[in-house]
Amino acid sequence: MLKTFPKGGVHPAEKKLSASRPIEVLPLPEQVSIPIAQHIGTPATPVVAKGDSVRVGQLIAKSNGFVSANIHSSVSGVVESLDPILDSSGYKKPAITIKIEGDEWMEGIDRTADVKKEISLSAEELIVKINEAGIVGLGGATFPSHVKLAVPKGKKVDVLIINGVECEPYLTSDHRLMLEKADELMVGIMVLKKVLGAERALIGIENNKRDAIAHLKNVSTGYPGIEVYPLRVKYPQGGEKQLIKALIKREVPSGGLPIDVGTVVHNVGTTLAVYEAVQKGKPLVERIVTITGKGVKNPGNYLVRIGTPISKLIEAAGGLPEDVGKVVNGGPMMGKTINSVEAPVTKGTSGVILFPSKESLRGEAQPSCIRCGKCVAACPMGLEPYLLNQLAQRRLYDRMEPERVVDCMECGSCSFACPANLPLLDYIRLGKAEVFAMIRARKS
């Protein structure tokens, strides 16, 4: 019996159309727009001005506080403006727009394909490097990585968990990365282990990626203390708490962090970025993005410079299909819709999915909840979505707090499972925001 998390979960159709497509380098666009807030936390502060020449890897916005991240230029050229642009959410956000000239990289960045295995820096120096490189969680959460690596006094990390689950349908960038960059990934894991002082590292991969499991099992024999675990396919196994539970049977307490149970989780993409930062001197300026969807001519996986318009990615995949109703940034379960394809790829863009119009609108919701309990059975956090939905609709927000709405990870399993097609998560989100506001008000 394969490991998995015990409570809740659903199994959406996998639709990994681009799984067999090797990673290709996306040609450079004419210009990029790099938002200064691509991470959770305080936006970075720009350190360039209009008209400045920049090179690839040059710092263009500086991290602003502990929970923040540096931003580097992903291209070489001239800063054209610091004006806000429409980002993928449709809001104007401050960004640095650079007109591309050539492809000049900063000195000290090793762009060869050689795998540098020996880790010469100390744990403290490694953290500094990771911090400088502007690395954030590339699985989509975009939480600054150095924060997760700073183990608070009195806590210990005995197991490092590497997330190669990729439980969202359609997405394949992590899958390809594990197949094509296995050695780099392993060195990245060794770096993280050293930083955290963890003896063991466990890589969790869902069993629909058998080639990646076999390959990593094979490669990992050359590295001490790294184990690969196949997991039963179940969404949302890529959720930190679910993955920890599945692999080491520890349960992160409500409101707590993985570190409270002696572990830290990093995504495979983030781990690769860590390798490149510390071993090759390369800051986070590009990432692997899956472009896929029904009707997409050539679904594939591309290495994309941060700030590239999503439209360029769509062009590379054969252009926008005739019939597109919705474009999603991320996976179909947790991704966000994009209202313009001119929005830039950011550090958190794991994939872009195009949906035909027919699949873009939700099915009609039925008049009432039939109390089937399928949402309760689906909820990985042990909540009662039907009840939270009801309470939010009736604005009984104070009753939602004891029902633990703040534990909701917004995985969407409840809405997915509901036979009455009720927009459960929409209302739960609303209630969650209200409850957080209540809690903040109480604290201040």
Binding site: K7, D260, S311, M333, M334, F355, P380, D407, C418, N421
Partner: protein, 334 residues
Amino acid sequence: MNKLLVVSPSPHTHSGESTSRLMYNVVLALAPALAVTLFYFGMGALVVTLISITSCLLFEYLIQKFLLKVKPTISDGSALVTGLILAFNLPSNLPWWIVVIGAIIAIGVGKMSFGGLGNNPFNPALVGRVFLLISFPVHMTSWPLPIESRMSYINAVTGATPLAIVKEGLGKGDTMSVISEQIPSHMQLFMGTMGGSLGEIAAFALIIGFVWLLVTKVITWHIPVSIFTTIVAFTGILWLINPQANADPLFHLLTGGVMLGAIFMATDYVTSPMHPKGMWIFGVGIGLITVIIRVWGAYPEGISFAILIMNAFVPLINRYVKPKRFGEEVKKNG
């Protein structure tokens, strides 16, 4: 490329599960039992079933369209299920107009007066059945004999149910060894050759339906299994204490409405708890009440009452019995 795109919150995909798909799977699960009852009770079963289904659908349509003035939802299949289950709870020789009254009560009082599907606290079919049992006790407790009465409807040959025979016998002070000569064997009980409501008799057919409901994930096993376990355990203890004064547990499991009730009525979504912990409390309660009524109560059978009584506790169970939350047990270490 400047076409308007749909902007909506996640998730962007759905399981494809729907209320009507669930309901039609319940209908499919009831099909084996329906086939058996048509074979055993023939004419009568056919007439009662058709009248029950038609009147349930009709009343739901009329009430929604003309009284509540909402879009009728009879295509969701829930009225069809109520119609079938109501019929399954009636004797096959019940006059057609009583069936119609049962349907009005089930749909009108049991379901629509509370606001329709999803809001009714009691199983609508059972509301209909219990109303009829109280209003027409004679009609509701005359049981055609299987096979013999296949070609007749109102004038079918009737007899007592095994449960009634046992109750009466024990009441007279007979021992089980004497009584067991008058009741069918366990195998016959399993195959359903006994008197009873038209859909409750054939355990094997209802169990096939149970398997179908589990395979299609319409229900989980918790409620039926907790009811069965409780009934077997409770009657088992009584039987071990005095096998001459108590029927054996298997007899209790195979007679009356236990199979039909546990598999198809106690599992009604709307009127049962939402998660396993609550389901166990609910199922154990039904099992206990059923046995208490059967052994000490005035009626030979008690599962309908047991389900209705536990239906009343469901809001309370849902309010106070919570699923185990993720991260609940561990204390934060810092």
